[in-house]
């Protein structure tokens, strides 16, 4: 057999590793800042681009797509080459992939801070960046499949399947969810509206967790855990079963983010059922990871890398147990919209993704630099500080979430709500402070790692091209009996198609009916499109990230109806491109805020929230009083909405600005009566118009379902 010599590309691995560390620190700093802003409104600094609503997407996007994203690529570039016994397919593609991804991150940070957002959580990036992501993802795909095709090992190790499934699913999710209609070079409206937009978004949102934060990291775990422990994975069979089960089940679970909302009931139940089933493959993966260390627990005691990995896998187990529990309607009724969700995601992000990444970094860096880790002791210190950080983060947030929910739902003996919304916020501020402390500890641990890694790098020299040799792959001559799984393992393209079919089936079955069958969305005759001024106001609402603290979805519970008004109906959202239901109530729900307070209240509240609600933690939005509404773009916005099916009269785009000014002048005149002077075309006027419109359409009207045939 001909033995071939080749070189592993460690330079790309190094670059991705550095990017992982850099963006990790940036993302965590942003997280720390917004956690402080929650109890210290002054930390918003009164500037648009430092205010919570704009920094929060920077935090989530940086941690998910920059920190974990680069972590995935680091893990894939290191492991795939060695598993395939081949260098990465093409060095130029590796370079384009790396720099392209960093360009995406930088442009994401800049545009998000500047207020360019689609208003869909975890998919906030605007259309040009969406296109760039697609292109770079394709580059990554070509590089990965190219490597797989020219491999020198016919069997595809389980980690590679996870990478393949990740690539396909993320591509599909990203494209489907990013359907948007641009009306300017940095702004667009979501193609979908209301309920449909919500279903697509959470189908994406949930699967972003599944196929960006979970499957690639499981693949990486199946490589680096056995490597770090130097023993084979506990059960290879379990890894095969758990892989197929996981990718098949995960794609159906999205609707569990929308329980008790205006989403059709059957879709909610489907989401719940599949979420419960998910516990089996998830725990299959966790147990397979932990059992790999059977008989090697003495190593865990000494090796910080294994310590990180054990806690990571345990956190994965906890988060994937909690996930199905939170999908139960009765549990979800309590936890949804509270900080419980925040605790849940951070057990996953800080524990599973963060700790696995740190373990891998400590393992990879000395190897590619041909040296020893500078200090094992510092790594162990990092481990303990980080672990305490996670505990200090998670427990107060669970506690806060639970208290929040119970206080929201508390009635007095007389049958009135016991607590004002604001009381439920100020009550949990001590927990918010502890959370920041936990985050600060976690970040300090990361800084210790940065020092340790810099020292390690300095003590060695990069082996940019690591020599290796392996026999060339002999084409299978057709054995007497070929098993299907072996067959598919040797054919990545067929496997790609097969995975895509499985994954697409789930998505299509859930979404197509909602699109096609009108009976899912009862039409309400009194629901009318937004006026041009309200539309402009809505876009300001999205720009400032209001949806990150305020929901627009009143669930059919006694307390919510008593607090916010009539529960939300699916038909109310048909002109909402994008939907703005939100996922967390740090502030009260706004679905029926319209008409609740006078214009002057909103004016003063946006200028200085504490003047209207003493103790409020909302930042002030002073720039809305100086900025002018961008009326030049109004016609384009109206035309875009018309294209999306919003029934504005033909030619309305030309009258839109006159209509806008007429409404604005009216609001301005009303404010003037109350001695509040502001320009009629100030952004605050548009925002007030939008806030006063919200939820008013169906006051006194009844939902009219289309007759069933």
């Amino acid at each position: 057999m001909q033995v071939e010599k080749f070189f592993y590309d460690n330079k790309s691995v190094k670059l991705f590793a550095y990017a992982t560390i850099l963006w990790g620190v940036v993302g965590m700093l942003a997280g720390l800042l917004i956690s402080i802003q929650i109890y210290l409104p002054a930390a918003n600094f009164g500037l648009p681009f430092t205010t919570f609503g704009r920094v929060r997407p920077v935090h989530t996007n940086a941690v998910i797509f920059a920190f974990v994203g680069n972590g995935i690529f680091m893990g894939v570039y290191y492991s795939l080459q060695r598993l395939c016994k081949a260098r990465m397919f093409n060095d130029t593609l590796s370079k384009i992939h790396f720099w392209g991804w960093q360009l995406i991150i930088v442009s994401a940070a800049v545009t998000l801070l500047a207020g360019y957002t689609t208003g869909k959580e975890y998919a906030e990036l605007e259309w040009p960046i969406d296109i760039l992501i697609t292109l770079i993802w394709v580059v990554f795909g070509i590089n990965m499949f190219g490597t797989i095709l020219k491999r020198r090992e016919s069997h595809l190790y389980v980690a590679i399947w996870f990478f393949i499934a990740t690539w396909i699913t993320v591509a599909m999710l990203h494209i489907v969810n990013s359907f948007e209609l641009p009306f300017s070079w940095l702004k667009s409206y979501s193609f979908y509206a209301g309920v449909q937009d919500a279903l697509v978004q959470w189908w994406y949102g949930h699967n972003a967790v599944a196929f960006f934060l979970t499957t690639p990291y499981l693949g990486v775990m199946y490589y680096f855990l056995p490597k770090a422990a130097n023993r084979p994975v506990y059960s290879y069979r379990l890894s095969i079963i758990h892989f197929w089960a996981l990718i098949f089940l995960y794609i159906w679970a999205g609707p569990h983010h929308l329980l008790y909302t205006a989403l059709p009931d059957w879709a909610q139940s489907l989401g719940t059922v599949f979420s419960i089933m998910l516990i089996a493959p998830s725990w299959g993966g966790m147990l397979n990871g932990l059992f790999t260390l059977r008989g090697a627990w003495d190593k865990v005691r000494e090796d910080p890398i294994l310590k990180f990995m054990v806690v990571a896998i345990t956190c994965y187990g906890m988060a994937t147990f909690e996930g199905p529990m939170l999908s139960l309607k009765s549990v979800n009724a309590i936890t949804h919209f509270t900080d419980w969700t925040i605790a849940h995601v951070h057990v996953g992000a800080l524990g599973w993704n963060g700790f696995l990444t740190f373990g891998i970094l400590y393992w990879i860096i000395p190897r590619i630099f041909n040296t020893q880790l500078y200090s094992k002791k510092l790594a162990t210190t990092h481990f303990w500080i980080g672990t305490i950080g996670i505990v200090l983060y998670a427990i107060p947030m669970y506690w806060a979430g639970f208290e929040q929910a119970l206080m929201w739902k508390q009635f007095t003996a007389e049958g009135t709500l016991k607590f004002q919304f604001l009381e439920t916020v100020t009550h949990i501020i001590p927990m918010y402070v502890t959370r920041s402390l936990g985050g600060l500890l976690y970040l300090s641990g990361v800084l210790i790692m940065v020092y340790n890694i810099i020292k390690t790098v300095k003590s060695g020299a990069l082996i940019a091209n690591e020599a290796a040799e392996a026999p060339a792959l002999v084409k299978s001559t057709g054995h007497a009996k070929q098993y299907w799984h072996r067959w598919i393992e040797e054919r990545p393209i067929q496997m790609l198609v097969f995975s895509l079919v499985l994954v697409a089936a789930g998505g299509i079955i859930e979404m197509v009916p909602t699109f096609l069958i009108k009976s899912n969305i009862p039409t309400i005759a009194s629901v009318k499109p937004y006026t041009p001024l309200e539309l402009q106001g809505r876009d300001i609402y999205i720009r400032e990230g209001c949806y990150l603290c305020h929901s627009q979805m009143i669930r059919p519970f006694r307390d919510e109806v008593a607090r916010y008004g009539e529960y939300s109906k699916a038909g109310e959202f048909i002109y909402d491109h994008p939907f703005q239901w939100g996922s967390k109530r740090t502030g009260p729900d706004l679905a029926r805020i319209g008409g609740k307070y006078p214009d002057s209240w909103h004016y003063n509240h946006m200028l200085e929230p504490q003047s209207m609600s003493p103790g409020s933690i909302m930042p002030s939005y002073t720039w809305l009083f100086e900025n002018k509404i961008d009326t030049a773009i109004t016609p384009a916005k109206i035309r875009a909405m018309q294209t999306l099916g919003v029934p504005y009269a033909i030619g309305f785009d030309k009258e839109a600005n006159a209509n806008l000014m007429a409404q604005a002048n009216k609001i301005q005149a009303g404010l003037k009566v109350e001695k509040l002077e502001v320009a009629a075309d100030a952004e605050i006027i548009a925002l007030i118009a939008y806030l006063q419109r919200m939820g008013t359409d169906i006051k006194g009207a009844k939902a009219i379902p289309t007759p069933t045939k």
Partner: protein
């Protein structure tokens, strides 16, 4: 009610396909070799480490 029909038909056909594939894989002895793949990945084939690449199942010395 057409929604539920579409849903049921699609779900059942996908589930049936998956079940068939699984039964077939078990019957055809697909999972016979579960030993060598997890052991093979422990070796990097790097020249400097002098690992015997042809006989992977017997060399289990630490590679650090």
């Amino acid at each position: 009610m057409s929604v539920i029909l579409i849903l049921l038909m699609a779900s059942i056909s996908v589930a049936a396909l998956f079940l068939a594939a699984f039964l077939w894989s078990v019957r055809s002895g697909q999972y016979d070799d579960e030993i060598s793949p997890p052991l093979r990945m422990l070796h990097d084939n790097s020249i400097s480490q002098n690992i015997d690449t042809t006989n992977t199942t017997t060399t289990l010395k630490p590679i650090n």
